[in-house]
Structure formats: C-alpha cells, structure tokens
C-alpha cells in the first residue's frame, strides 16, 4: 500500500500579503510548506516507522514551478518520491480533487493525508472532495492516528467535541495541530533528497476546468479605535474600561 501526502506551498504566516490587479500577488513573498500539510507528511513517515505495511510514501503538489521547493522539503523529511503537476492557473479545491483522485488511482494509494485547512485559500474542501471522487470515507481534523493492517483508528474533532473512530482502508484523513511534531530535514537528508525522483506531470492531462472565479481581492482591516487607557492605577483603569465598553462600544449591559 502507498500513502499519498498532499503538499501545498503557502505564504509564511508573518509574510506581508499584497494585492495587485484585484488579486493576491505572491511575487517576492516568502513561501513555506503549509503547516497543516506538514503534519500529514510527518504522520505518513510515523505510520511506516511504527511498523505499518507501507511500501511508498508519495508527495503530490499542484501549482507553479516554485512548488518544487515544497516537494524537496517533503523529500528531505523522508518521503520516497514526489509528483509535481505544474500549472500557473488557480484552481478551487473541488476541481483540484480530480488530480488527487487520479493520482491515487494510478499510484495504488490506500491512504491520503492532507492538511485540514489551507493557510492560503482557507479551504477545508480538498480532502472531502477527493474522498468523494474516489468513493472513500474520510476523517477530518484528525489528531491521533494508528494503522493496524488495513484498519485505521484514531481520534478527530467534530462539531461538539471529539470522536474516536475506526475505519477500513482506503480512506482520506485531514490532519491538524496536535497530531504530531513534524521533523526538521537534516542536512544529509536534504542532500539525499536531491537524488530522489521528482516527476513532472502535465496539468492538461488531468482535464481540469476551474469552476470558481476570483473577481476581486482586498486587504481589509477594520478601523480600530485604538483608545489607550493608563494602567498605572488599576482601579481607575478598570472603571474607565467598563464605562467605555458599556457606553461607547455598547457591548456590555
């Protein structure tokens, strides 16, 4: 059985995001592997290290040429090989799931790991949409995972708390904080990763057609009052804050 891990490249959280011509412009922005996806890469490696029968761990990225960096990071962490579906066009998650499903079929994948929420487009849809295209069950927001033969068990967050689950592979799992602590690639592994296979696929062969258009983008910040209260006299500061919250902001009774 092979595991497929999806790797997205997103702006570093501290990086400035700029807009040009009604769209987010990432030129010159520091890009990193999406942290949520890193949990997925790490978990794939740990499942194999824990003795699960995993032949290969494959990382998949879909996007512009610079995504090679994200795949090299995954390879340096320990993934066996990578597939890059190179495209400069932006696709929504439901459309991208077509690529995931086709690659999963072609590569004899039994488990897909993907980040629970993208740090760029804030979508949670890629895992679920991929599962539906494959006809597989899915577990979202997973923070504990164990693989015993074909049985996957673990724990994940739901609307009103968390659930323990059991499911038979194949399945899609979306990952999140708490699942593990991703490893840093070591220098020898970074060197080794350069020799690993990074296959390029032609995006056109996957028959993608974007269904969601982005027609505008703006950096929106709410104007804040920025009223500063002197904290040297705690009683006076507390009284003043409560007075402002009650009578100016009108948020307290």
């Amino acid at each position: 059985m092979n595991i497929l891990t999806l790797v997205r490249q997103v702006p570093d959280a501290e990086a400035r995001v700029k807009i040009s011509q009604q769209a987010v412009d990432l030129d010159g922005t520091t890009l990193v592997v999406d942290g949520m996806d890193e949990y997925g890469v790490e978990e794939a490696l740990r499942l194999r290290e824990s003795g699960a029968s995993v032949e290969q761990i494959i990382a998949l990225a879909i996007g512009p040429k610079r995504n090679e960096d994200a795949l090299r990071t995954a390879l340096a962490m320990g993934v066996d090989r990578a597939i890059h579906v190179e495209t400069d066009e932006q696709f929504d998650a439901v459309t991208l799931s077509k690529v995931v499903a086709q690659v999963a079929h072609a590569e004899n994948v039994g488990l897909i790991l993907v980040g629970g929420q993208e740090a760029d487009w804030d979508s949670q849809a890629l895992g679920a949409a991929s599962a539906e295209r494959l006809g597989w069950p899915q577990l979202t927001w997973t923070n504990e995972l164990k693989l015993d033969g074909e049985t996957l068990s673990g724990r994940h967050d739901v609307d009103d708390g968390n659930e323990s689950f059991r499911v038979t592979l194949p399945a899609v799992v979306t990952t999140q904080q708490g699942l593990n602590e991703p490893r840093y690639p070591t220098l020898p592994n970074i060197m080794k990763a350069k020799k690993k296979e990074l296959r390029k696929d032609d995006a056109a062969s996957y028959g993608l057609q974007a269904r969601v258009r982005t027609v505008g983008a703006e950096i929106q910040t709410r104007a804040r009052r920025n009223t500063m209260i002197d904290g040297k006299d705690p009683q006076a500061a507390a009284a003043q804050l409560l007075e402002l919250l009650r009578n100016e902001a009108k948020v307290l009774a």
């Binding site: 949670q124 679920a128 002197d230």
Partner: protein
C-alpha cells in the same frame, strides 16, 4: 428552489440555520426557500424551521440519529436533485464544511466555501470570503445549474419569521451505510456559553503567567461578564487549557461583540481567528505587543492588578 440543510443540536434549531435563511433571502436567487431537516425525533426542530421557511422537508430516520459525512452528503444530494435546487446552502460548521464538498462533487457543482456574503450577479452566484489567514477578503463567483455554498457562522443576521409558517413534508431517502465506526465520543462540556455563539469572549495568552492565573483571571472575568473562555495556541500547547478553547488559525474562528485578550501578544495566526471581532480589548504589560495595533481599547498594565479590579468593578 433554494435548499438549506438545517443545523441543529440538542433538539433545537441552530442559529446557523436562521443565518442561512437570511443568506438565501439576501441572495436574490429565486424560488421557495426550503429547509431540509435531517435527524431523528426532529419534529420540534422542523416546526421551528417552518416559521422562517417557505417549506420544510423532514427526514426523521434512525439512520440519521447521528451525523455522518457520507450519509448527510447523500441525503442533501438526493433532495437537491429531486427538488431541482439551483442553490444548496450548508452551514460553515466543522461538519458542514466536511460534507458540503462531497455534495458538490456528487452534483458536479461549483462550491463557494465559507462565504460571508451572497448575491446573484447575472447568471452567477457571488460571495465574499476571508483568505490568507483572514488578512484578505476575496470575492468569488460561480455559475451552473446548481451551486453549493457554505456560509460562515456569524456573518448573517438570524432570520425572523416572515408571513405564514411553511408547509412541512416528510421525505424518503436512500442512504448509504456509514463506513466510519465511531468507537467513543467526548463532548465538550462547559457551563459557559459556547465560544462560537458567545457575544463576549475572554481569552488568555502566555502573558497570564500560569494555569492557576488562567483560572483566576481569565475564567474569573469570563464568569463575571457571562462570557466564553478562549485560549491562544501557546497556552494550549503548554497544556494549560484544552484544545477546544483555542482561538486562531488552527483553532476556532470567532467574531463576538467584545473580545477581551489578557496577556495575548497577537500573533498573525491568532489574529486570523479573532480579528473580525467587533471590539477588541487588550490588556498586556508589554506595550509593544502587536495586539495593541488591532485593539479598540488597550491597557498597558499588570494582569494581576487590573483583572481583579475589573472583576470587582463589573459586579457593581
């Protein structure tokens, strides 16, 4: 028709359902607003829904006693197809955003995810959504015989009853057997108001100092104000508080009337979860903390002195 899949819990219609009805009314899309209620023993919920909808479809079945992504997706898809819905609206809860993509794939429909606004624009349906850790607002649109939408909780006002109550109809469904076996469940129990529904939230960061201080100051102030309790990732990672309380990119997204941040520095990942709050109040002894840049009201001072004074003063 516009199909809304109801959110409900503990025998009551969720506020999210009323918000979705407003989204449907504001969208400018034509046709009756239809609410689909999935569950078991849901007649009271269906009656609540009928007050705001043109019609209510009820599937009251034992197989629907607990939520399951595959079952819910199959049910919503079947009703959307039979009713020839052109718009399917699902809540932006964790579960909603989990099964909505499956509905979109089943219907071969475009999917507008987690929108904060919704309006018809020619043949297309247009919505806004927050992206890039909530730093950017993007406008997106899609068209098709049917479009699937999830609506971000708290973005629309709750719908008030309009005219006569809608008719209720029972529907029959062909449902798949769930493949995920739930072997245990832990429900977040809190005597306090739920974070995503709270109008006032008191959140503590590492600057609070210790788990004991968190109880004393963050929970103490929350109780004095009838507020929900939140925590930053650093506090959760340190094991002071449960993950359920985490606000931010990897935790919950909230937009209360007042967000009171105690000892919170204001990392981008935290701001992405609370930056849309109507009023942000920051108390921190570090005058350089980034949280002050987004605060409506700020006090540079010692939590140990200011919070007890606040608790005392709020009782008066």
């Amino acid at each position: 028709m516009i199909l809304i899949v109801a959110e409900h819990a503990a025998g009551k219609l969720g506020k999210a359902t009323l918000e979705m009805v407003t989204a449907a009314r504001e969208s400018g899309r034509e046709g009756p607003i239809t609410v689909l209620v999935l569950g078991q023993n849901v007649s009271a919920i269906a009656t609540e829904a009928a007050a705001v909808a043109d019609q209510v479809l009820v599937a009251d079945l034992p197989q629907l006693a607990t939520y399951n992504a595959e079952t819910w997706a199959a049910a919503a898809t079947q009703i959307a197809q039979e009713g020839e819905a052109h718009t399917v609206i699902i809540g932006g809860s964790r579960s909603g955003r989990e099964y909505a993509p499956r509905v979109a794939v089943k219907l071969d429909a475009p999917y507008l995810e987690d929108v904060t606004s919704l309006k018809a624009s020619g043949a297309a349906l247009q919505g806004q959504r927050y992206t890039y850790l909530a730093r950017v607002t993007e406008t997106v649109e899609a068209e098709g015989p049917v479009v699937v939408v999830t609506v971000k909780p708290g973005s629309f006002a709750a719908a008030a009853p309009a005219g006569a109550a809608g008719e209720q109809y029972d529907v029959e469904l062909t449902l798949p057997a769930p493949r995920v076996e739930v072997t245990g469940k832990s429900v977040e129990k809190s005597s306090r108001v739920a974070l995503t529904e709270a109008d006032v939230i008191v959140t503590g960061g590492r600057g609070v100092g210790s788990p004991e201080n968190f109880s004393k100051y963050v929970e103490g102030l929350a109780d004095a104000l009838g507020a929900g309790v939140g925590a930053t990732r650093a506090v959760v990672d340190a094991g002071w508080r449960p993950y359920a309380e985490q606000v931010g990119q990897t935790g919950k997204t909230v937009q209360p009337g007042a967000y009171i941040a105690l000892g919170v520095s204001g990392a981008v990942q935290h701001l992405s979860g609370m930056g849309k709050s109507k009023n942000i109040i920051a108390i921190n002894k570090d005058a350089e903390a980034p949280i002050f840049k987004v605060a409506d009201y700020g006090i540079v001072g010692d939590i140990n002195e200011i919070v007890p004074a606040l608790i005392e003063a709020s009782k008066r």
